[in-house]
């Protein structure tokens, strides 16, 4: 079974399992993305979270052809979502419990406040998709409802599942071809080859521990479904339509990426792994920026290449950008760039290095975050090219 759940990584940096594209993201991104898309009433984004999780889990398990119901539980743990018990589910539904849950327990570190609503909609969707797959139903065959969530103080998560009618319009995940038909990313840094960085990160074994969690670099990681993230972000924007709030929504999606970069990149910069792998080849802040771009390139986000980087400006190209590829697969050619995670990520990286002096080893706390974020010369970013719009790569410029 463990071999069946072995994540594949292609030479162009795509991660996949059962044909589903995977990307690493932390509890900060998971919190801020979810918080953002749930701000607007009337869009049923809670339903989108649930159904995107259903479609992703179902497609992954079907693609794995693992054959046994228990593989769903192992998948949940391996990807860092926690520990789930599906044993009480039969063909009519039943109750699922989670004794450990990334969404139920790990988002509070990012929120910094008490929750008013359950955070574990993803768990409910995963349980529904896994159960539909396990009982031979269509992907939409079950609907999960969160009955108890650890984010609200429950001792364990409880999700009730019941059958629902087939729906031909139900979300479908897309499958990313492992072949790369885009331009080859150029070599822009002489420090370490991308292949060496890929291997070094692979050796870290960033998979769920005995609790089904991935605590690394001061954050809680998940190895998550790219379809899930893309569906949440782009369905959110689509459903806002001509409300006049799309640009604000885009800013907030970018902010989720910024916070992700700030905490995850910040944690990596301060880690012993950075010290042993990168410190010997990093002689300047621009070196550090290139080095972090090569690490980001192993996370399933696409290959990040800094074409220019200095204390005032950076130009980054993203080859195989998972956001753009996901958008194009689901919604066709875009009229605006959609690489919000990458754009926020570049802003976070530049602010950490050039304003926060991260290489000097500061404490990564809220006071430091605020100091960097409120800096009068903080970097701003804009997207200049986009694979989603038909360009060969996505390009982001950060300036101050």
């Amino acid at each position: 079974m463990s071999n069946a759940l072995q994540v594949q990584m292609s030479s162009n940096g795509r991660r996949s399992l059962g044909g589903e594209a995977l990307v690493y993201h932390c509890n900060f991104y998971n919190y801020w993305l979810q918080k953002t898309i749930l701000l607007v009433d009337g869009l049923d984004m809670g339903g989108v979270i649930h159904d995107a999780a259903v479609a992703s889990a179902y497609a992954c398990l079907k693609g794995l052809d693992a054959g046994h119901y228990s593989s769903a539980v192992k998948l949940f743990a391996k990807l860092g979502f926690g520990l789930m018990d599906l044993s009480q589910i039969d063909a009519d539904g039943g109750t699922v419990t989670t004794s450990v849950s990334h969404y139920g327990q790990c988002l509070s570190a990012a929120a910094g406040a008490e929750f008013a609503r359950p955070q574990s909609r993803f768990d409910a969707g995963f349980a529904a998709g896994a159960s539909a797959w396990g009982h031979g139903r269509m992907s939409c065959g079950f609907e999960g409802t969160v009955q108890a969530c650890m984010s609200l103080g429950a001792s364990e998560g409880k999700i009730s599942l019941r059958g629902r009618k087939p729906n031909s319009e139900f979300f479908r995940s897309y499958r990313l071809d492992q072949n790369n038909d885009g331009p080859v990313p150029p070599k822009t840094w002489g420090g370490l080859d991308q292949a060496a960085v890929d291997e070094a990160v692979a050796r870290l074994q960033l998979v769920g521990n005995e609790e089904g969690l991935i605590p690394r670099f001061g954050v809680m990681l998940t190895q998550h479904f790219a379809h899930f993230y893309n569906r949440l972000s782009f369905e959110f924007l689509r459903r806002m339509g001509d409300s006049g709030m799309r640009i604000a929504g885009e800013h907030l999606l970018l902010d989720a990426g910024y916070r992700c970069a700030f905490h995850t990149f910040g944690g990596v910069f301060l880690s012993p792994e950075w010290e042993s792998l990168m410190s010997p080849v990093v002689a300047s802040k621009s070196d550090a920026a290139h080095a972090m771009a090569s690490i980001a390139s192993t996370l399933g986000w696409g290959r990040w290449r800094l074409m220019e980087v200095n204390e005032r400006r950076a130009v980054m190209r993203v080859y195989d950008d998972y956001e753009s590829l996901g958008y194009r697969s689901m919604y066709g050619q875009a009229t605006r760039p959609v690489s919000f995670l990458a754009a926020g990520g570049l802003g976070g990286l530049m602010n950490l290095l050039y304003l926060g002096d991260i290489l000097s080893g500061p404490e990564l706390d809220s006071a430091y975050f605020e100091k960097v974020f409120e800096h009068p010369e903080a970097f701003t970013v804009h997207q200049t090219q986009s694979i989603a719009m038909g360009h060969g790569f996505s390009e982001i410029v950060a300036e101050r």
Binding site: T36, D41, M245, G249, F373
Partner: protein, 56 residues
């Protein structure tokens, strides 16, 4: 009487204002004069939405 600039200072405040705008479904908030005192009714709504977006 309070202004938007007083309620939402700095870069972090600007982001909170975007969240409040979405929460209230009021894109026109972005066009308000940020230094002009808010009408009492609007100020109450904005404060309530701010309370909601500051919760987890």
């Amino acid at each position: 009487m309070t202004t938007l600039n007083q309620l939402f200072p700095g870069n972090l405040g600007r982001l909170k204002l975007l969240r409040v705008m979405l929460r209230l479904g009021m894109p026109e908030l972005s066009k308000y004069n940020a230094n002009q005192p808010l009408e009492p009714m609007l100020e109450r709504r904005v404060r309530q939405a701010l309370h909601e977006v500051e919760a987890g």
